[in-house]
Symmetry: C2
Subunit: 390 residues, 2 copies
């Protein structure tokens, strides 16, 4: 069986942890499996390297930042291969070029274009355990790129697809994907199975378990994969294609640090122009309401100053900003079109006295914007009535 | 003018130092020069990475150790390119593959086989400052190799040769090459010019200024180069081909931690066998004397345990070991064949009451083995009578 595994930075933070993971890889290999293992950088290495860059330049060259950051995964891959070789197992670390992972040239956010797995296959034929640097690629000019924070998941899914792997496992510091953040809701239930779309929504929950592009890629190529704990033996969550007819509630997701911007007395043309400008600057506007002459929309706190800058450059209208809001979403196939669910959702929040600042519906989720202080109470009540109750 | 420069790890240890070096590079570039800059890893980065490897394995895979160590130079090259870009200068960092530096496959001690400077030339044509990772190469299978500690000097000389550079400068933490270690002999004189062979002998002096293979390579390809201080403005030492007819004393070199091994009552066949065995195990035996049935030879302290192991495995003779000796060499073209110089050398040590444990002569040096406590006195006296006196 050909197995692709991915281990995150917290599973590799120390020599001891690397040796622990090496033992897990070894066990799988000894069962006769071909092993391809994708690694992130150790612990907070990526942050340490970013800090080094900031000491040199406030706005470091994106090409050179990619070169610098790429060394984190190269180090963890080399250390893991060493650990396996030390135990008498033949292993080899491969960087993006050696692994044939080709990407676009957008430094910092490159996308995988193609994978040429010739060398990986040759190393597997030679019975080697193949350790691959996650998070990075090579563009058409031979330059090093990175695929965005957390993108080692995406590397693993892309390799599983290119190698036609029999099994793909993403090891994380959580035990799987839950119906809500277990830190916030003690009755949160771990999913045994979950569809791609719902996973995408829930993935951002709590400790941001998965890189969203990895799930999109898995969906595109139909790669089923497991989300597992790297430290605890427990049943994982299987992420797979879903039966669209099935109506299921997957859980409650939340996203902090959301800002709501409101502009009153503005024309429809101007509203449209504002949204177009934001799209042009790649600022994601997740929720928006345009009622009469009033426009409200939300952006993440990290995009706030840029958003205000863009709007103020073109418009003189006053902008009202509400910071520190939280977006709570009920995720599940078809939930938004099920009026019973919608009604129960609304009623639950009303009974809890949670003020709803904005509400939006999409195919697989109902989202509301609430005050930070109401978050925990709202999530608990929604989980009790809509997840546990179902 | 095409200039190749090399900066060592101590010149790059902090963000501040990197910015200082960036300014020096910038100044040269602004004068209209094409700049190719070879960098070592920052400060003690290589030792930190070695320590990481040791935590994983007592005897780490040589291939993977090379992968790990190579990240040190990749980081300093990226940071330097960032620093230059931050100041508005177009720069690009290139790793060994991108720079076309191909080597043999002997991990840890690979030798440069060829350089394909196409990309470097293209980047120079585009008016970029090219920053290159020293110390590393790529073998024929696309694996990362390293060329040995301090080998960034060798990278610089090889690039100067491949690019037919107009000027090659090796920046170090000393001001040039002296007639003796300035820390030991206050009257030590800095050489304005020095021949390759003498440089090879003197290079090991004190802070081991140059990687010996870089000097051999420079000699092979006739590359003249300067050894300069990266922090102090002062006249450098020019290393160049020498006039073999000229008789000059270049200086006094010394090497610490030398062990002398003596075996008495041993046959000539056995003596030969011992020396052959040591050669086979790549243990360098620098001085040896075989008088009657007595064999004496010296090895560096780091080779002592392996040497004893090898000899004890084949021979039962008792081995007498003297540790903590120092080898002092008078270096200069033809010195060993000039009986006047040899006599003065001997007389100087005799008058100072320095006991000579072993003496050997080669084309360009007279070497003696002395007790550690006699070293400073011996060097001072030899420098006074043979270097300053000449």
């Amino acid at each position: 069986m050909l197995i692709v595994q991915k281990y995150g930075g917290s599973s590799l933070a120390t020599a001891e942890k690397i040796l622990y993971v090496a033992n897990k890889i070894k066990e799988n290999y000894l069962k006769g499996n071909d092993m391809v293992v994708v690694l992130s950088a150790q612990g907070d290495m990526t942050d340490i390297l970013l800090e080094k860059a900031k000491e040199i330049s406030k706005n470091p060259s994106k090409r050179e930042l990619d070169v610098l950051l790429s060394t984190g995964e190269v180090q963890s891959a080399a250390l893991m291969a060493m650990a396996l070789e030390d135990r008498g197992f033949s292993a080899v670390s491969l960087n993006a070029l050696q692994a044939g992972i080709f990407s676009t040239s957008e430094h910092g956010l490159a996308k995988i274009v193609s994978i040429n797995p010739t060398r990986i296959k040759n190393e597997l034929k030679a019975k080697k355990i193949v350790i691959i640097t996650g998070f990075q690629g090579i563009d058409e000019h031979g330059n090093i790129t990175t695929l965005g924070r957390g993108a080692s998941d995406t590397t693993a899914i892309a390799l599983a697809s290119a190698l036609v792997a029999d099994l793909c496992e993403i090891y994380t510091d959580v035990e799987g994907i839950y119906t809500a953040d277990p830190k916030q809701v003690e009755n949160a239930i771990k999913h045994k199975e979950l569809c791609y779309n719902e996973t995408l929504e829930l993935a951002q929950m709590g400790a941001s378990v998965l890189h969203s592009r990895s799930v999109e890629l898995a969906q595109k190529f139909g790669i089923d994969f497991f989300v597992k704990s790297s430290t605890i033996e427990s049943e994982p969550t299987l992420i797979k294609a879903c039966n669209l007819e099935e109506k299921i509630i997957s859980g409650i997701a939340s996203e902090k640090k959301i800002c709501k911007l409101s502009i009153t007395n503005i024309s429809g043309e101007k509203m449209l122009l504002i949204l177009q400008l934001l799209a042009m600057h790649k600022i994601s506007v997740d929720m928006a309401s345009c009622v009469a002459n009033n426009l409200s929309f939300v952006v993440h706190k990290s995009d706030l100053s840029k958003t205000l800058e863009i709007i103020n450059a073109y418009f003189s209208e006053e902008i009202l900003v509400e910071k520190n809001l939280v977006k709570i979403s009920l995720v599940g196939t078809g939930v938004a079109y099920d009026t019973e669910i919608l009604a129960l959702f609304y009623e639950t929040l009303l009974k809890e006295g949670v003020e709803i600042s904005l509400l939006s519906l999409s195919t697989i989720k109902i989202s509301v914007l609430v005050k930070k202080d109401d978050t925990k109470r709202a999530i608990k009540a929604l989980h009790k009535n809509l997840v546990e109750g179902v």
